[in-house]
Subunit: 325 residues, 2 copies
C-alpha cells in the first residue's frame, strides 16, 4: 500500500561486480534475500518460505544464496561475505543462535554461521539479530553519514533496533531496544514475560489480535482498520488506542535515546499510510497536552520503513561484508 | 553516610602542574568546584553558596575559579580550560544557557561561557548540562576505557546522563535521558509537564515530599526512611513504593540503552546504602516475577555515586579541558 517514505539514494539494480555480499532476513514464515553490490546497490532480491529446525534453516539459507548467485554464474566463494539476520538470541562473535522459537531453534546455542560457511565454502558468514540488521539496513537507505535512528519493529511483539550516530547499539546484555517490556500500566494485561502492562501488550500485532481476533484469516490489524473505516465504534476505539500506544513507543525512544528518526517497520507496518497518519495524529495530541513533549518535535521524526525494499536483508548483507561489527 | 561504591583509581590530592583545568557544578543552592590535574587527579575541591541571577552566577563562578587557584598562586590564564555544569538548557557550542530556573536564568539565552571567559581572561570556557557532566565525571572514576553507564539523578526531578562506550550521548534534541517524563501509569498523578503518571511523579525527591512532606525541615526522603525504620506502616508503604519506582527507572535504562552500569546520584542519593539496598531488593523482586527481567542481571549493575567526590564538578573539568566535545 505505502511507498517508501524514507528519502535516500535510489536503490538500483544492475550487474554483479566483485566484492558482492548476500544478506538474508530469516523470519518465522519466509526468508528474504538480497545480493548487494560493493557500492551498496541492491542487485537482486528473492523470497522463499522458511523451513523450520536447525537443519531446515541451514538448507534454506544455502539454497537462497545459490539462487541469488545463479543468474550470473558466480560461485559463493567469490562473495565478500554472507550475513544472516534471525529473530533470536545471537552471539555475533561465534555466530551461534539460540531461543529462535519461530525458526524451531531451541535453548542450545546452534552454530548457524559455522554450518552455513561449511556448506557454502565461504569463510565470511556472520549472524546478527533481526532488529539489528533492520536498523542497519534502514540507516543504509538514508543519505547522511552519521545516521541516528531507531527501527521500531511492530510485529507479533514490539522492539527496536538502534543506530546512534552511525554506530549500532547492542548493549551490555544484547538487550538494547527491548522497549516492548517496559511496563506502562500497572493495571494493564499480563505479559508473557511475567510482568504486567508491558508496552507490547498495547502496541503490537498480538495486542490487536487479542482485542479483535481475525474473523476470516485477514490479518487482525488490517481487519481492525477496515472495521473502523466502516464505522464500527468498538473498532474505532481499539484502533485509536493502538495508534496512541505506538505513539507512546515512539515518544519513549525520543525520551531515552533521543534519536533523530524513528522508522516504523515490522509486519504491522504493512498497514502503510493510515498507520503513519494515525501515529502522527496521536503524537500531535500528546504534544497538545504537554509543552515539554511538543518541544521535542517528535511528530516530524517518524517515518515508515520502505515497503518495497527488504530493509533487514540489506542490513544483513552489510553485516556480511563486515562493514559493521 | 555511604562511602563511594564505584571502584576505580584512587582520587588523590597533590600539587598543581601545567595543564590543569577547573570544573564547576553550579546548582540551585551551592557551587561545587574542583581543580583537576592533567593526569585526572583532583587537586582541590571547594563549596560555596549559589548567588542567583545571570550576574550572580558569573560572579560566583569567577570567584570560585580564583579561590581554587589562590593557594598555588596560579593565574587563571594558565589553565587549560574551565568547564561549568548547569541545570538548564545548554548550547554547548555557543556556551549559552536558558531555562535554568533554579539559577534565576530565564527564557533568553544567556552567554555564560563568554561572560566568564571575559571576566577571567581565559579562552577555554565551556558549559554543559549538569547531567552530562555528572555522567562524564562518574565515567572518569571508573577504571575501564570504554565506560558504558547511565548516571541516574534522583533529585527534585528524575533524569539520566548517559555515556555509551565512552561517548556522551546528547541526542538529537539534547533530550537523551529525559526518562522522568516517560508515563508509566495512566491513573497516576498529573505531572508539571502536562502528562499523567510520569516516572518522575513516583521516583524523585518531590514524589516523596508530596506524599509525606517534611515536618521539621529534615529532607523528606531522610524523614521517610526514619519513619519507616520506626515502624510507621504508612511510611513503609511509601518507602517501598519509592524503591520500586527507582527500580523501574533502572530497569527502563537497561531495556533501552542496556548500559553496563547505572550509577545513582542526585540529592536523594544522600540516603546512601539503605537506598541502594532497597532498590536492589525491588529489582530482585521484579526478577523473581519475570524470567526475562532476571536474564538481564540488572541488580548487579546498580551502584551509588561516590559521596565524597564531586562527580559533576570533575566531569565539568573534563569538559573544560576539551576532552569531551
Amino acid at each position: 500500500m505505502a511507498g517508501p517514505i524514507i528519502a535516500g539514494p535510489a536503490v538500483r539494480t544492475g550487474g554483479v561486480g566483485g566484492g558482492c555480499s548476500v544478506g538474508l532476513d530469516v523470519g518465522g514464515t519466509k526468508i528474504l534475500g538480497v545480493l548487494l553490490a560493493p557500492d551498496g546497490r541492491v542487485v537482486r532480491t528473492l523470497r522463499r518460505p522458511t523451513v523450520h529446525g536447525p537443519d531446515g534453516v541451514v538448507a534454506g539459507v544455502v539454497e537462497m544464496v545459490r539462487a541469488l548467485l545463479e543468474p550470473d554464474g558466480t560461485a559463493p566463494g567469490a562473495l565478500t561475505g554472507v550475513g544472516i539476520g534471525v529473530p533470536g538470541l545471537v552471539d555475533p562473535v561465534s555466530g551461534s543462535v539460540q531461543h529462535a522459537v519461530n525458526l524451531g531453534i531451541g535453548d542450545e546455542p546452534f552454530p548457524l554461521a559455522g554450518r552455513v560457511a561449511q556448506a557454502l565454502g565461504v569463510a565470511g558468514v556472520r549472524v546478527d539479530n533481526d532488529l539489528n540488521v533492520a536498523a542497519l539496513g534502514a540507516a543504509h537507505l538514508l543519505p547522511e553519514a552519521d545516521v541516528d535512528l531507531a527501527y521500531l519493529a511492530l510485529g507479533t511483539g514490539l522492539a527496536a533496533g538502534v543506530v546512534l550516530n552511525g554506530t549500532l547499539r547492542r548493549g551490555a546484555a544484547g538487550a538494547a531496544g527491548e522497549i516492548g517490556h517496559v511496563p506502562v500500566d500497572p493495571a494493564g494485561p499480563w505479559c508473557a514475560c511475567g510482568q504486567r502492562g508491558c508496552l507490547e501488550t498495547f502496541a503490537s500485532g498480538s495486542a490487536i489480535a487479542s482485542r479483535r481476533p481475525s474473523r476470516d484469516g485477514t490479518p487482525a490489524p488490517a481487519q481492525l482498520l477496515a472495521d473502523a473505516d466502516a464505522g464500527d465504534a468498538g473498532a474505532v476505539a481499539v484502533r485509536d488506542e493502538f495508534f496512541d500506544a505506538v505513539a507512546s513507543a515512539v515518544q519513549l525512544l525520543a525520551l531515552t535515546y533521543d534519536v533523530e528518526r524513528v522508522v516504523i517497520g515490522g509486519g504491522v507496518a504493512a498497514l502503510g499510510e493510515p498507520l503513519l497518519a494515525g501515529v502522527r495524529a496521536a503524537l500531535a495530541e500528546r504534544a497538545g497536552r504537554s509543552a515539554f513533549v511538543a518541544s521535542l518535535g517528535i511528530t516530524d521524526r517518524v517515518a515508515l520503513s520502505p515497503a518495497d525494499v527488504p530493509v533487514a536483508a540489506v542490513g544483513a548483507a552489510l553485516v556480511g561484508r563486515r562493514e559493521v561489527l
